[in-house]
Amino acid sequence: MAGRVRVTARVAILAVLVAASLVASEEAAFTPLAAHFFDGEEAPTTGPDTFRIWEKARGTVARSSHFRWSGAWSVEIRDEPGNGDFPELQGYFQLQGEGRLFAHFALMVADPRETFNVALAGPGWFRLAPDGLAFWLENREDGLVHVSDSIPKRLFRLEPFTWYVFDVLYDVEAGTYELAIYREQDEQPLVALVDQPNAASAPGSRVDKVSFIGDRGSDVSKVVYYVDDVVIGADRALDPPPFVAPGRRRLFVETRGAHVGIEARQFLCFPVVDSDDLGVPAESLAPGDLARFRPPPRPSPENGDENPLAAAARSWVTACSSLGRRDFAGARSSLAAARETLPDARLFALTELLLRGRAGETDGLTDAISELEREWAADPRLAVARSMAMAAAGRWDQAVAAVRPHFTMGAVQASPEEEVLERLVTDQLYYLLIGAGRNDEALSVVGDRRSRDPASWLEREGDVHLLSGDPAAALETYRRARAAGNENRSILLREADAAYLLGDAAAERSLRESIYGSLSRDR
């Protein structure tokens, strides 16, 4: 327990220091966001709000009692070269976009010449970019470095089989951190740095994950190292939502349900259906011209002599891609180029409105859609666009009303273009009914469409059952979806929800760990 007491004392001291350093007028507070000591009779719980294990090819991540900083266990991360990937322990915590984040962990490596990496990162994942890597340690053959301002800065050489304790205090808004590193049994830090720019020198870079891996792609590391006592905290009073199920603060159906995928596609480009969308006579289109308006964008010819329609198509597809990535400036620029070539393309005008919606510029959006409706008559794409604007404003029932007239029970589409539009409407209606809490109606829609694409509509039906509080029906339906050929692995997570609600802890764990991994194989 001595190690644990030592850690607890250090955490407390740092919490006090963090609190004391706050501006006097602010209320001092410290909220633990994650604390993993890896002890206990059973291995700790993996999940979207705790941590995830990747053990690809021959690398492993497992609890170990051979070496630990405190308690009875640590985690051993073992990389193997030449297998095309790396093992990873990835921990999660509530996204921090302000204030200061405290990160503490203990680490020991068997052979300090082998490479491993440790990082704090945000929604941008592990890239040198805003919201990407905030804090990054890399152990190389010639020593440990931290990457600050995109520069690997030398720290020291680790010693084998020696515990080091790392304390990081990251100021999110300033984009800087303090770093203290202690060698075991030393009271004074080996390293004490202040005001270090974060990895990409990006103030405001948010963080929500911590990661421990082997090497990051060269695939030559044979590192074996141990991690213990991972503690993440914030210097403000926060009230993270409680865990509602093992490893998660929200059920998987709420974060991974099919409706969540549709939500992510709101205000993305609609498909081109015919020549009217482009504002050109039908006879003017050659075979294959409409297909140019499907991704990916085609290359421009080197000699610069390009069919203007092809150029417009390339610009519009590029704009759509930028829209998906929320690169609004890029989208606007590409869309402007497309509209210059085809100024009468009504679909480009609609794309402009979708861009506004995705950028959150919703003032006057529904009025602008109404204007287009006067030109287009009853095109379902406009109804879907209107429903997106309504849903974004939280007006779910009005959103449903906007798109409902375009949905017909039992409808059969005559052409591929009609099928595309029909799917657009049906997906949107399903999503809106869930958002409005009108689950019975959602079940009707699902039931009507199930025969056409059982694999995906059974998945949605399972979600509705789960959201409606019928986990038994959900479980049975998810299994039918998989039997019908649905290969979406996140169904397993929703089955985990259902198993949990039915009280089957073993099944829940097995299903959840099939995605999030497990530390239960102890060494």
């Binding site: 994942w125 520069i151 990895a199 990409a200 990051r216 060269s218 290359p299």
Partner: protein, 233 residues
């Protein structure tokens, strides 16, 4: 760490033909420099290797170990441009450092065949960290008559110099910072985008800014480079 390669690849492959893009986007094979063959049955014949190459089965080829490399090199020498482009795409995936492959690819650095040329520009940094590779790509990026080849040389410098030592990386950054002071706007733009790809930073630089604003930013970059160089001492 999940290091999403697809995001960084988008701009650099968006102008490639779909087949080539699909091949490159199939992902890297992390090179096993130890190169011990894992296939007990021996090396495949040329017909089988071509089948694997055309199917972009880099992982299967990798499993044979570096002992298959001479055969790949011989096939490259005897192939037409289309075949050499296919092989270069596999060299790209394998990431095996090889002087022999570098020489073969360098010989195609002047081809006007679009597919072969772009693939070679991408693959060179994957087979070598020889200084001539970086210099050749910088030369292409700044001087080639083709805007496509100039742009793709930049892509290769940005994403595919995987064997550079830290010192070589810093030298590359120094060259890029010099080029960001060029009189040519496209050169400035390409150089700054390559540097951004490596560092995630602009430091207030844009190729279209007025010279005095660019100079302020370049001073920041120069100071940054100085600090980076000090870390190598």
């Amino acid at each position: 760490m999940d290091i999403p390669s697809t995001a960084r690849r988008f701009l650099c492959v968006s102008l490639l033909a779909a087949g080539l893009a699909a091949g490159l986007a199939a992902g890297d094979i992390a090179g096993a420099d130890a190169g011990v063959s894992r296939v007990e049955a021996g090396l495949p014949d040329e017909v089988e290797i071509w089948r694997l190459v055309e199917a972009r089965e880099g992982r299967v080829i990798e499993a044979y170990g570096r002992s298959v490399l001479p055969r790949l090199a011989a096939m490259y020498r005897g192939a037409d441009e289309e075949g050499r482009a296919e092989l270069a795409a596999v060299f790209y995936q394998l990431r095996w450092k090889s002087e022999e492959l570098r020489e073969l690819l360098m010989a195609d650095l002047d081809t006007q065949d679009q597919s072969l040329r772009v693939t070679v520009q991408y693959a060179l940094g994957r087979v070598s960290n020889d200084d001539v590779v970086v210099e050749a790509l910088l030369e292409t990026m700044t001087s080639d008559p083709s805007p496509l080849f100039r742009d793709k040389a930049g892509c290769g410098l940005a994403h595919d110099q995987v064997h550079l030592t830290e010192a070589q990386r810093v030298r590359l950054y120094g060259r890029l910072i010099e080029l960001m002071d060029s009189d040519d706007a496209e050169t400035r733009s390409l150089a700054s985008r390559v540097l951004h790809a490596h560092t995630g930073q602009w430091k207030g630089y844009h190729a279209g800014l007025r010279p005095e604003k660019r100079r302020e930013s370049l001073e920041r970059w120069s100071a940054w480079l100085e600090e980076y160089e000090s870390q190598l001492e």
